[in-house]
Symmetry: C2
Subunit: 374 residues, 2 copies
């Protein structure tokens, strides 16, 4: 029950902060359509099945009680999970209900999430707004920027998600042997996640052997593992609503010197990235610290993606560690650090840990040391 | 290889028909963003991870070779899967590439999918269009209406998907016994799907015992099965890109007379719906035929949803069987027929089969007869 209480308290606090922002921006109410944002603010857990099958939206007025609008399938669950919200049903369509609420609350300015609003829905919103002399305002990142900085209970869940992810990895790692296919190992990881209590994978599990690992987003194939092949595993899961994300690259059998040298280089790049992380440092600077190690080793040209990304309710969220992300990191952000090198004729090596940004440095969430055995 | 050839031939034929429509509507090119529409036209199978993480778009000019635009992660797969498309990479962003192609193809009118275009992306499209004096046109349902009528090879896949779904159901059905939880059975179904070769479930598997079945979209809980409980299972999977969807309700142990009477009533409603289906009949009329049986039995008030929906690459697509869908069914549409009754204090019964609409009647895809044992 304690956790439930915390959930409701944090939902309450988040709404307070958001309402403060709305008043500062002179917005009378915000329509929240993005499913992670909806869950973050309300505690309501029903997912959407794609943007075309929404299971509800929030209407957050600048003052007063917030609304959770959904249909008859989900009202009971919504009331149970979001007790501080007024749950209303849109039996005759969301737009009809919104129009009614806009009148009841005497709204003049209604903001919506431009990054999660379909053009078709927007057109219907425009007709409704015109009828009611309501001014629409496209907003972007309002809640995402709140989500980027994690509370203690969120950090707790991210730790638990990472711990479970490593447990799954270790359990399957111990069974890997020549003759298994990429697809078989990926399936074993997915099944073990579910058996061990994860809600789902947080993204499509990547298992790639040898040259297949030269594609950063390889899709598992029926290729069979040969002794001496390198194996890249990039996996994550969702646990209590929060994502994990980890990459390991290893060799089944005896690694050759080339693999060992390259693996050490990537590991040093990861450690240099981790070393550089603390509040106040930009995403560019952290990316540069890791990239410099690869450059010094002569491999900068083989590292074609950014160094990392925020992780939370979504597996990819703010902030980024990349040559283009100039904003400063803040304490209690959680990011991946995942340098890699990719050589089409040979294969790829990527190593990835998750860390919590602190004032003086960072805390590495991962404890798995598979890559240290080498 | 035969199947590959068919795939490319059907992709080619679909593009021809779409281009004909574009010329008729005086549209110079259509931007296709919806992932099922993209796969339907091109054969390119990479899914999106939500609308905010697209793995590519199509640009279909009214004449000439169509384009598949994606990023460096997916170009190899795109070229392999969509050989009749010109695959281009948007390393500097989709909008930059679109602008270049709009110039190269001398486009004057560009249509986009209003039902799968984010407002934020639309704003960027508007800026680009203004720079190039390009007229934007919001379209809806252009490709969805093509998808509603299935080709022979699509019907073949829908049959195979249904067959596999029933095999999974039967395999788990035989293991159900008192003490198991809803969640355990749902997990067993999901795992068996994957083990038997399905790509994924086509929606969140529903397993509900007793009163829990009174919610049409029940989420599996830790409730334990008691002898005599009714069990509602609504499940589907994706196989070769095509969905199945089936519901069965049964009793573990000896059903009482109330269950038997209500089950027979719902079964008669399903059969009446199936009986009513043929090309030229409206969705309203089919819904009414099934609903009338429940009304005659005194249960119309306990059937709160529509009778059915189209199934194909998406588990919910055009057409609908409902009191509001006035369009006529056409031959080779595939729909579910799924009447149900839901009583909060007692439980729920829903039965669901999939059928192919024919000129004179319909073909029922399901062969599972669990519900006939009663």
């Amino acid at each position: 029950m304690d956790r439930g209480l915390n959930m409701h308290r944090s939902a309450h606090d988040r709404i307070d902060r958001l309402q403060h922002t709305l008043r500062r921006k002179r917005i009378d109410a915000l329509l929240v359509t993005q499913p992670h944002n909806r869950r973050y603010l309300s505690g309501y857990t029903v997912p959407d099945h794609g943007i075309q099958e929404s299971s509800g939206v929030l209407l957050i007025p600048a003052t007063g009680r917030p609304y959770l609008l959904t249909d008859s399938r989900f009202t009971l669950q919504a009331e149970a999970e979001a007790p501080s919200f007024q749950v209303d049903r849109y039996d005759k369509g969301l737009l009809k209900l919104l129009e009614k609420l806009a009148a009841a609350l005497d709204l003049r300015t209604l903001a919506f999430e431009s990054d999660y609003m379909l053009h078709a829905t927007y057109l219907r919103l425009v007709s409704m707004a015109e009828k009611r002399s309501l001014t629409l305002k496209a907003e972007s990142g309002l809640i995402e920027s709140m989500r980027a900085i994690k509370s203690d209970s969120e950090l707790h869940r991210l730790r638990a998600s990472t711990r479970l992810n490593e447990k799954v990895f270790q359990s399957v790692f111990n069974t890997i042997e020549p003759g298994m296919t990429e697809r078989e190992i990926a399936l074993a990881l997915d099944l073990t996640m579910r058996e061990m209590g994860a809600e789902s994978p947080s993204f499509d599990t990547i298992v790639a052997f040898g040259t297949n690992a030269a594609r950063p987003h390889a899709v598992p194939t029926d290729r069979e593992l040969q002794a001496g092949d390198l194996v890249l595993v990039d996996m994550g899961l969702v646990y209590q609503g929060y994502c994990s994300d980890m990459t390991r690259t290893f060799v089944v059998g005896k690694p050759d010197q080339t693999f060992l040298d390259r693996h050490r280089l990537v590991r040093r790049a990861m450690l240099a990235g981790i070393e550089a992380i603390r509040a106040g440092v930009t995403g560019v600077a952290v990316d540069r610290a890791a990239r410099q190690v690869l450059r010094d080793g002569g491999y900068a040209a083989f590292f074609g993606h950014g160094l990392g990304h925020g992780v939370g309710m979504a597996v990819h969220e703010a902030p980024r560690l990349s040559p283009r992300y100039r904003k400063q990191l803040q304490a209690n952000m959680v990011v991946t650090v995942e340098p890699g090198i990719y050589l089409a004729d040979w294969g790829g090596i990527r190593l990835e840990n998750m860390v919590i940004v602190g004032e003086q440095g960072c805390e590495v969430l991962n404890q798995d040391t598979t890559f240290l055995d080498l």
